[in-house]
């Protein structure tokens, strides 16, 4: 086959059409990706609105990389809510289905200030953010997340949550059919609790 024959062949036409379609599609997606980009600030505002029901002022707390790892996962970001003096933490819990993770926002309630003794009093709300490999996370019902906000006594006593029923005295919270995702969610909440107790309060909680 000569070069001229190749350029006139059906194979070349097929290749050219496919490449053209891919290029146009790629260009279109690039333009729309730019137009519909969601900034970190917008994401945070959405989360704050869904937790507090109204716009609130939040100040980012600078995290020390050495402290963000907890036995339950990682704390990604922390915010001080100026309006009510509470804290909002974004954390990723490990131990999910297929070793995956779940990332959540946990709005903590506390008393005092860092200067005169900050103490954890409970959880206001837990909001889902994202996950890795948690195919069955859709099975998690809203009541599962609400459960965390109803355990102020356990939290004030220094307790943690677990998706596996055991005798540790921790509070069990598991969604049937999504045990792995439940475990990762509990660990994400525990990460936020652990970080607050050990780092934000300076270990006084």
């Amino acid at each position: 086959m000569t070069v001229r024959q190749f350029f006139k062949s059906n194979a070349f036409k097929s290749l050219a059409v496919l490449i053209a379609i891919v290029l146009v599609a790629g260009g279109l997606l690039a333009i729309f990706n730019d137009l519909l980009y969601i900034s970190d600030e917008e994401r945070l505002n959405r989360t704050l609105s869904s937790i507090y029901g109204e716009p609130v002022t939040a100040e980012e707390v600078t995290l020390d990389d050495a402290d963000t790892e907890t036995p339950y996962g990682t704390v990604n970001a922390a915010y001080y809510i100026v309006d009510d003096g509470n804290y909002l933490l974004q954390s990723t819990g490990t131990g999910g289905y297929q070793n995956g993770t779940v990332t959540l926002w946990t709005a903590l309630t506390c008393s005092g200030t860092p200067e005169n003794g900050l103490a954890l009093t409970g959880i206001r709300k837990v909001v889902y953010d994202s996950n890795i490999n948690q195919s069955w996370i859709g099975k998690i019902e809203p009541s599962f997340y609400d459960f965390f906000a109803e355990q102020d006594e356990l939290i004030a006593d220094g307790g943690y949550f677990t998706a596996i029923r055991d005798d540790t005295g921790d509070l069990n919270n598991v969604q049937t059919g999504a045990t792995g995702a439940s475990n990762a969610i509990c660990n994400a909440v525990n990460s936020a609790l652990c970080y607050f107790r050990t780092i934000l309060t300076g270990g006084n909680a």
Binding site: I21, A25, I38
Partner: protein, 229 residues
Amino acid sequence: MNAKKYGKIAYDGLITNNATFKLVLGTCATLGMSTSAVNSFGMGLSVTVVLLLSNVIISLLRKIIPNTVRIPAYIVIIATMVTLLRMVLEKYIPDLYDSMGVFLPLIVVNCVILGRAEAFASKNPVLDSAIDGVATGLGLTFALTIIGIIREFLGSGSFFGMQVMDFRIGFFTNSAGAFFVYGICIALFVLITGQVDKARRAKHARALRVPSHEEPLPAPDETTAEEVK
């Protein structure tokens, strides 16, 4: 003439070839997303938008795309439309975006969309393909919403998120319950459309003064027999 043709395309998409109840296509999304009426409705509308856009584009390009590479080309077009839809939903309807989860990107492999691209859009003009896309999508939306309403009501005692009854039958929120409701809905849909079709055929036959297959042929009349002789 055109109105009649478009009406037939729409009727086929909505009823005669209903993707969910008649062709049993897109079952994965149907079973996975029908736990609540709102999710089902959202999924149905999302598929409708993708169907409309992909059908229009594929119909426009039908004379350019070589036959040998038509399937990869269709997949690229459909995947692009789904990705655009994901971006729009994430930006403007984040709640629906979150609730649809993994089923939103999976629209790419929904066989309803590729099926309509291959069977209709690649052979018909743009307007016909657009009507087919909308009709097929609305037929799927209707079916998904019906299943979602039933499963949500029986499984959670609510209707479009509003609590109306104080009971829950967990079975209907599970996969087995989804199959059960899906099967019952298919049976009812086939029964109803069958009855309607039968009635239409009988009416049509009466209008033509030709006995339908349901009506016994009249007994041969003596005078008629004599005339024949």
